[in-house]
């Protein structure tokens, strides 16, 4: 099956009292690994469910390939979905689980066996084919769910936080396997996560949602280096970007953003210089996190700024007075609208320009 584009066209989904998606327009290009990223409840799952046909949008339409599928039933949309809960059929063996979509489509037995064998081999499930889901570990169940999706050879994969139930080590492993799988099959993937590390490492592009509204679409580099607004700036990056009122550096009406790794203690001159006092030092081995309280006589409270220092630098001691200087990019956002002022003049700032497809 050739990979297909998946397109949401001004899709709005309203539940009784909540607006889960607000006029969302978003395209996953054929073969692209597009990540939907956002905090809990922002509408990521809803977007996938609308694409799969499990929910009917309140307005707007969905296109898979060159077909508008608004009136097409889920079973005929030819997309495969991996649920957060895996949704394995508990009464069927692993083999029967993987076969299920093929049997539903009346694929001939020989062809079916070939595909199941292939899928089981590529996900190392050969030894487990006769087990029931209850007899599998979380990681194994996850692989069965993936196998059930890939035997289909669908037009697109929809994955709803497939790794969120795994422990940290397994998650890293499966992340690599998923990337490998995507490279091998070349199928379009829409991948939902609220884990930005997953998003940054896996996505060709990332679409960031907040409260049902698309904030920005772009490559990981884009959304990190040129966040469209305060929300994206604060959401991407760990630890998150420091955001503080422009009044501190004599710029009114803006919010200033500096990433923790872009601060140095004392030294170099720059546009942003802040007097502060060290209030917490965390040494993680490969780096230090230093929290500083900025002296701000003009404000009601003293903002806390986090600084990331490489392990080679010896960290300051608690209570020490320091001067924070921005050594990297300084972002400026409109304090009313939150828009990145640097991008505001250019076109399509809020939604990215989409040119970042790699």
């Amino acid at each position: 099956m050739t990979p297909a584009a998946v397109r949401l066209e001004s899709v709005t989904k309203r539940y009784a009292s909540t607006l889960a998606l607000s006029s969302l327009t978003l395209t996953a290009e054929p073969g692209e690994f597009l990540v939907l990223l956002g905090p809990s409840g922002c509408g990521k799952s809803t977007a996938l469910r609308v694409i799969a046909g499990l929910e009917r949008p309140t307005s707007g339409s969905v296109r898979i390939g060159d077909r508008i599928v608004d009136d097409v039933e889920p079973k005929d949309r030819d997309v495969a979905m991996v649920f957060q809960s895996y949704a394995l059929y508990p009464h069927l063996s692993v083999r029967r689980n993987i076969e299920f979509p093929l049997r539903s489509r009346h694929i001939a037995a020989s062809e079916r066996d070939r595909r199941v064998t292939d899928a089981a081999r590529s996900l190392q499930l050969e030894q487990l084919l006769d087990r029931k889901p209850a007899q599998l570990s979380g990681g194994q169940r996850q692989r069965v769910a993936l196998a059930r999706a890939i035997v289909r050879e669908p037009k697109a994969f929809l994955m709803d936080e497939p790794l969120s139930n795994l422990d940290a080590r397994l998650r890293v492993e499966m992340r690599a396997e998923l990337i490998e799988l995507h490279r091998r099959t070349g199928t379009t993937v829409l991948y939902v996560t609220h884990d930005q590390v997953e998003a940054m490492t896996m996505g060709d592009r990332i679409a960031i949602l907040n409260e049902g509204v698309l904030q920005q679409v772009g490559t990981p580099k884009d959304v990190y280096g040129r966040p469209a607004n305060v929300f994206v700036a604060g959401f991407i990056g760990s630890p998150p970007m420091n955001l503080f009122p422009g009044e501190l550096v004599g710029e009114d009406g803006v919010t200033i953003g500096v990433r923790p790794e872009d601060f140095t203690l004392g030294g170099a001159a720059g546009p942003v210089k802040l007097a502060a006092q060290v209030s917490l030092v965390e040494s993680l081995g490969h780096e230090h996190h230093v929290a500083c309280r900025v002296a701000a006589p003009s404000l009601s409270s003293e903002p806390l700024v986090l600084v990331r220092l490489p392990a080679s630098v010896s960290p300051p001691s608690l209570g020490e007075g320091v001067t924070l200087a921005a050594s990297g990019p300084v972002f400026r956002f409109d304090s009313e609208s939150g828009v990145n002022l640097e991008l505001a003049g250019k076109t399509g700032a809020a939604a990215g320009d989409g040119s970042g497809f790699r």
Partner: protein, 295 residues
């Protein structure tokens, strides 16, 4: 420490005494007594002493048509009532499972027969089926005669219909609860996997609710073999013994004929039949039926 443990154990035993006593008095003693009564043949005229005949009464009664015919009727009755009751209850539960406007009204109506009793159901149907004044006779345009309940072919099916109707509310509620326990994401996954509505129902829903189906089957079979009220109120075993089910036969033998020996033998047989059926069904459950907690 030790004395406290002993006290706990004693207390534990003490607390089981009421339940144990109730079991002995109301279950164990009558059972033993029934088996024992089965060893004594009752004289054909009241007042004469009964005498011990041992197992011979068991073999004569159990091979006699006064036992075999009611056993056949009971079996037929169970076959009429249990599968249909489950199927109709399940069908109504599926219909009412959807999220539609006003569906609650249907749920209430569908469950309503649970609020009736055997007596109420029987009276309703007795009136409906009355050969001269009943609505049924009017519908089929045939007044007078014996009516369904007096017809040798249709009497038992007619009583079965009354039973199915009366148990429908229970069956509906049971099946609705089972449907509600099927995880929605499995059905969604099946839909995305290309399964049609029928395939989703038979390949996902049915296996997942199979424990409930088997529970309903066991309860239904036991209740079916213990049917009494409908028969007593509607046909009294007639016409010509065609609705004379096992429990009704035991009743008439015991109370009307005062033949305690024969009645006891048949009661013991009924007990053993139910035990056996239950064991068979449980063994099927263990081998075949999927329990959701294996998930």
């Amino acid at each position: 420490m030790r004395s406290r443990r002993t006290r706990d154990v004693l207390l534990a035993y003490l607390m089981t005494v009421p339940a144990f006593a109730a079991f002995v008095i109301f279950v164990f003693y009558p059972l033993v007594k029934t088996v024992y009564l089965g060893f004594y043949r009752v004289a054909p005229f009241p007042g004469l002493p009964s005498h011990y005949v041992g197992f011979s009464q068991y073999s004569t009664v159990l091979s006699h048509s006064q036992f075999l015919a009611p056993l056949f009727n009971s079996t037929l009755f169970v076959l009429f009532t249990v599968p249909t009751g489950i199927a109709i209850g399940l069908g109504m539960a599926v219909a009412a499972h959807r999220q539609l406007r006003g569906i609650r009204l249907f749920r209430i109506v569908f469950s309503s027969t649970i609020a009736t009793s055997v007596a109420v159901a029987s009276v309703i149907f007795f009136t409906l089926l009355d050969p001269t004044t009943g609505l049924f006779a009017y519908w089929i345009g045939q007044r007078g005669g014996t009516g369904l309940l007096g017809n040798p072919t249709f009497a038992l099916p007619a009583v079965a219909v009354v039973s199915v109707w009366q148990n429908l509310g229970f069956s509906f509620i049971l099946m609705s609860a089972a449907l509600a326990s099927v995880p929605e994401d499995l059905l969604e996954a099946a839909a995305i996997d290309g399964a049609s509505g029928g395939r989703r129902f038979f390949r996902v829903t049915m296996p997942l609710i199979s424990p409930t189906l088997f529970f309903a089957a066991i309860v239904g079979v036991i209740a079916g073999f213990q049917t009494f009220g409908q028969i007593d109120l509607l046909t009294q075993g007639g016409p010509n013994g065609h609705t004379n089910v096992l429990l009704y036969q035991i009743y008439t033998t015991f109370y009307i004929n005062a033949d305690t020996g024969t009645a006891s033998v048949m009661a013991v047989a009924l007990f053993l039949i139910l035990v056996l059926l239950t064991l068979v069904q449980f063994s099927i459950i263990q081998r075949k039926v999927f329990y959701a907690d294996e998930r």
